[in-house]
């Protein structure tokens, strides 16, 4: 039986390219039954990842198509990077709902995380998780949460619908069925007084209103967070170890861009959704209160993004011995002085050195091509796109919009410049007028000047995966042999520019008399 299985697996891998390559989306998911909710303890995740001694071998990413892009799935959907979203779409973000409508009924207090908050339903019966700003930094955390949901949605992830709401105390009424954990540790009915206790430590605007972030509950039945390694053993569609998923490895670059230092398992959510009579698991990123310069209940610690909470022993010892005289660039950086921004900057930001608060196994496994894919998505955002999303933070001080927009533009450019220089960043391949055409993304974005390319052509055996060199002029023009080839024939062209280590090999397949791109692979 085992031998039979091995044979079959070998047979499955007999062809490099299938006729439907490159796929743009994963097949419809297999139906699942009811799944139990699985929790991930925050302390467990922190200890496990912070003190892990696992090595991180250079394993190529999965959940990719033959071009190296990420097909649509219940983890990731190509959005702004594949097709420009309009300003309106960028600002609207996920979902089709409108903002919550008063009056609001409070049905419980927030028990997860570090910020106070509560759960409420609006006049239409929709459920929201509501969080305020810290008194020290009005507008900071609520704006971060709203902006973060829109950026990560546009990047391709499932995110909740986050709205800013401005409400008066009189808009809120505590449900008679609401309960809270009393001081005695037992559940008890929630009182209006409990809500007053929360509002007492919330900044109040001059007009007497409270500004809150209301996050619509994600579609489907929540079954706990996903983890950044392994798979969920009871989900048939979860076949790829999470640490090897390009959409999770590349998330490192997105988090670096947006300074989402709290990218951990607890800030994710799996839900069981049903579409077309099929139930399956959808994977959300949630809770963006700790992005940009915000750390939810206070301005972000300058260390965050620049080092782990538990430093390496050597680093810690150095800090002790140096008596604090070893001033790091991020310690002396200028983070501005806007309370609504918190601590966010772009001058000392280095995407290669950026770190989440504690090690994330998917981030640690990332390879250069994962970073390149992510950088492409980031570079899809124009200055105007960034400003449009930042404006959804509804900062009362226009300097805050200006500051964050400028910082995000500069951080985006650093990401593009860094990762487009680690590979030969050729993309958008197509055969046109008998020649291979492409964009050089480094040239397109102005990171390097126009450059020349050398091309070497090969005949390609799709079953044996053999490349056989053929005579060509070293140009991008398809060789005569290829033009005269039979239907279904494969050819490949290896392109390089100044650095011989950085190549892109593009595979072409002849179908219906024309060549189409079947795949691409890179070296660096």
């Amino acid at each position: 039986m085992a031998a039979l299985l091995l044979t079959e697996v070998a047979a499955m891998r007999a062809e490099r390219f299938y006729p439907d390559d490159p796929i743009l989306s994963f097949p419809k998911p297999v139906a699942v039954q009811k799944l139990p909710s699985r929790k991930t303890g925050g302390l467990y995740d922190f200890i496990k990842q912070s003190f892990s001694t696992q090595s991180h071998p250079a394993v190529p990413a999965r959940a990719v198509n033959t071009l190296g892009d990420v097909p649509d799935s219940e983890w990731f959907t190509n959005r702004h990077g594949a097709r420009r979203m309009s300003r309106q779409e960028l600002q609207h973000g996920p979902g089709v709902d409108a903002p919550p409508v008063p009056p609001f009924t409070v049905i419980g207090v927030k028990t997860e995380g570090i910020t106070p908050g509560f759960q409420m339903s609006d006049a239409k019966g929709r459920l929201y998780f509501v969080k305020p700003d810290p008194v020290s930094n009005p507008e900071m955390a609520t704006a971060a949460d709203v902006i973060g949901a829109r950026f990560f949605y546009a990047l391709g992830y499932y995110t909740p619908q986050n709205y800013l709401v401005y409400l008066r105390r009189s808009d809120l009424k505590v449900s008679p069925r609401a309960t809270v954990d009393g001081l005695g540790g037992k559940k008890r009915p929630m009182l209006e007084r409990d809500l007053d206790d929360i509002l007492r430590i919330v900044p109040r605007r001059k007009d007497g209103m409270y500004r809150m972030m209301a996050s619509r509950s994600a579609e489907g039945e929540p079954i706990g967070p996903f983890r950044y390694e392994g798979t969920r053993s009871d989900d048939p569609n979860d076949t790829i170890p999470h640490q090897d998923r390009r959409d999770l490895r590349g998330l490192h670059v997105f988090c670096a861009w947006l300074n989402h230092t709290d990218a951990k398992s607890l800030n994710s959510l799996d839900t069981l959704v049903e579409e077309g009579g099929v139930r399956f698991v959808r994977h959300y990123l949630i809770d963006f209160g700790a992005i940009l310069g915000s750390d939810s209940d206070m301005a972000k610690n300058a260390r965050f993004g620049n080092g782990y909470i538990i430093p390496k022993a050597g680093h810690g010892l150095t800090r002790i011995v140096a008596l604090g005289m070893d001033v790091r660039s991020w310690e002396s950086a200028n983070y501005g002085s806007l309370n609504a921004v918190g601590r966010f900057e772009s001058h000392v930001f280095d995407p290669e050195k950026w770190k989440s608060n504690y090690p994330n196994p998917a981030f640690l496994r990332r390879l250069t091509d994962d970073e390149y894919w992510a950088a492409k998505q980031v570079m899809a955002f124009t200055d105007e796109d960034i400003r449009a999303i930042v404006e959804t933070g509804e900062y009362s001080d226009p300097h805050a919009v200006e500051y964050i927009t400028r910082a995000l533009i500069e951080r985006r450019n650093k990401i593009g410049r860094t990762y487009f220089s680690k590979v030969l960043p050729l993309d958008n391949f197509a055969v046109s007028a008998g020649a291979l055409a492409f964009d050089d993304l480094a040239v397109k974005h102005g990171f390097t000047h126009a450059r020349s390319y050398r091309a070497a052509w090969f005949r390609f055996d799709n079953k044996g995966e053999q490349l056989t060199p053929i005579q060509s002029a070293g140009s991008l023009q398809l060789p005569a042999e290829a033009l005269a080839a039979d239907e279904g024939a494969y050819y490949a062209v290896r392109i390089q520019s100044d650095d011989p280590r950085k190549t892109v090999t593009v595979y072409l397949r002849k179908r219906s008399g024309v060549f189409k791109v079947a795949g691409a692979e890179r070296t660096w």
């Binding site: 039986m1 039979l4 079959e8 047979a11 499955m12 299938y18 006729p19 439907d20 796929i23 994963f26 097949p27 998911p29 297999v30 139990p36 699985r38 303890g41 302390l43 467990y44 200890i47 496990k48 033959t66 570090i114 008194v135 020290s136 009393g182 001081l183 005695g184 540790g185 037992k186 008890r188 009182l191 007084r193 007053d196 206790d197 007492r200 969920r232 053993s233 009871d234 989900d235 048939p236 569609n237 979860d238 076949t239 610690n301 300058a302 260390r303 909470i309 538990i310 430093p311 810690g316 800090r319 002790i320 008596l323 604090g324 001033v327 310690e331 002396s332 950086a333 983070y335 601590r343």
Partner: protein
């Protein structure tokens, strides 16, 4: 029979899967679907690993609640006795849920191997006027059999160490009003103190009454009940109370102590000011702190030695032993330079200077006792929870292990 049905079922499933496996893979979509179907045949409930099970067990156990004193009901209480008494532990009973959480009751007892003990009870009304007004009733009985005494004034000698027994029975009433929700607190404390002084029980050091005369240690021969009353004011612009990085804190308290025998009545003004100055985005913090305790006794009155301000210990002159200096008045200055090693660990270098003196108008910056040292501060996200300070002075060095922030305020029990 059961075994046969199970065996047949397994064989059937295996055959079906094998048949599906044998059909050729025609597309990438086909390949991916097969991977999902293959996994669908071997689904299993998620299993926590050893570490996760262990942490779950600890988090769900009652042990942590007991160690933390418990939310409601019985728990354990650690510390709370005078520094130098040794490790204190004892039972606690807490009821924060009385009268719909408008009334808190806490009672605890603790003792140490040196036979120090403390029993206290606190009844609080913390929610008056939307948490702006708080009223505390506090009752305490403590026995400290080996309190150190080195002689009166700034010129006392380290070699002059003696010890005495002090029994405190206190009944206090405190009311505090938050004039500004975050920054300004005013209030009043009043109460009755019964203090008994007796021979120390140390086998190493002589009893105070055998070395020092009543003239040197007023009140050692006779004690009487005290009534005390006085207002206090706090103006607090620190960013965080338990691990400040910026801002100013100013506290002052006036107290009138009326001795029932009319020999030891006095007034006292205690003032404290702290300034936290962050640099390098709060990764370094300079702290400056000054405190004075000034006593004013009327004609024919003296301050009993056991109510005199003291210097020396984990919270003031850290290079000197606990209660190293006694006198009617004290002046203390501290400076700290803190740097962050990691988010959960700060280090600090510090210098302390201070002195005790006889009369308020003797206050000056001359003849100060000085020390220096360094410390480790272990922190949660918002508070210093444990510190180790090592202080060095001309009298040697002291190492302090404390479960409180470096500079505790004047009002531990309120707000």
């Amino acid at each position: 029979m059961r075994f046969s049905i199970a065996f047949i079922s397994i064989m059937l499933l295996t055959s079906l899967a094998a048949a599906q496996q044998r059909s050729p893979v025609n597309s990438r979509a086909d390949q991916l679907e097969r991977e999902a179907l293959e996994k669908a045949r071997r689904l299993a409930p998620p299993q926590p690993d050893k570490l996760e099970r262990g942490i779950d067990r600890v988090e769900n156990s009652k042990v942590l609640q007991w160690i933390g004193g418990g939310h409601n009901g019985f728990g354990l209480h650690f510390g709370g006795l005078v520094t130098g008494s040794g490790f204190a532990v004892g039972p606690a009973y807490s009821r924060p849920d009385l009268a719909r959480e408008n009334l808190h009751f806490r009672m605890s007892a603790g003792g140490t191997a040196k036979l120090y003990y403390n029993v206290d009870a606190l009844v609080s009304l913390p929610r008056l006027f939307g948490k702006r007004l708080r009223v505390d009733f506090y009752a305490q009985h403590a026995d400290s059999p080996q309190i150190a005494y080195y002689g009166p004034g700034p010129n006392s000698q380290k070699q002059g160490r003696t010890n005495y027994r002090r029994e405190d029975t206190n009944l206090d009433f405190r009311v505090g009003w938050r004039v500004h929700p975050r920054h300004v607190l005013v209030g009043l404390t009043t109460g009755v103190n019964l203090i008994n002084i007796g021979p120390g029980t140390s086998k190493v050091y002589a009893s105070t009454d055998r070395i020092y005369s009543p003239a040197q240690t007023p009140g050692i021969d006779v004690q009487s009940p005290y009534f005390h009353i006085g207002p206090f004011l706090q103006v607090d612009f620190r960013d965080r109370k338990d691990d400040p990085h910026r801002g100013t804190n100013f506290v002052t308290r006036f107290s009138y102590y009326e001795d029932q025998s009319d020999r030891y009545s006095f007034r006292r003004i205690e003032s404290l000011v702290e300034q936290y100055i962050p640099v390098f985005n709060e990764k370094r913090v300079f702290v400056l702190r000054a405190r004075t305790d000034l006593s004013y006794a009327g004609a024919g009155q003296v301050v009993p030695f056991y109510l005199q301000p003291t210097l020396g210990g984990s919270d003031d002159l850290r290079g000197f032993r606990q209660f190293r200096y006694y006198d009617n008045d004290s002046l203390l200055m501290n400076a700290e330079y803190r740097w962050e090693v990691a988010p959960a660990l700060d280090m600090a270098g510090f210098a302390d200077a201070g002195k005790v003196f006889r009369r308020p108008w003797d206050i000056s910056l001359t003849n100060l006792q000085t020390d220096g040292g360094f410390g480790f501060r272990f922190k949660t996200r918002e508070a210093v929870v444990f510190r180790i300070d090592a202080g060095f002075s001309r009298e040697g060095f002291q190492i302090w292990f404390k479960f409180n922030p470096p500079f505790p305020g004047l009002y531990h029990a309120m707000f």
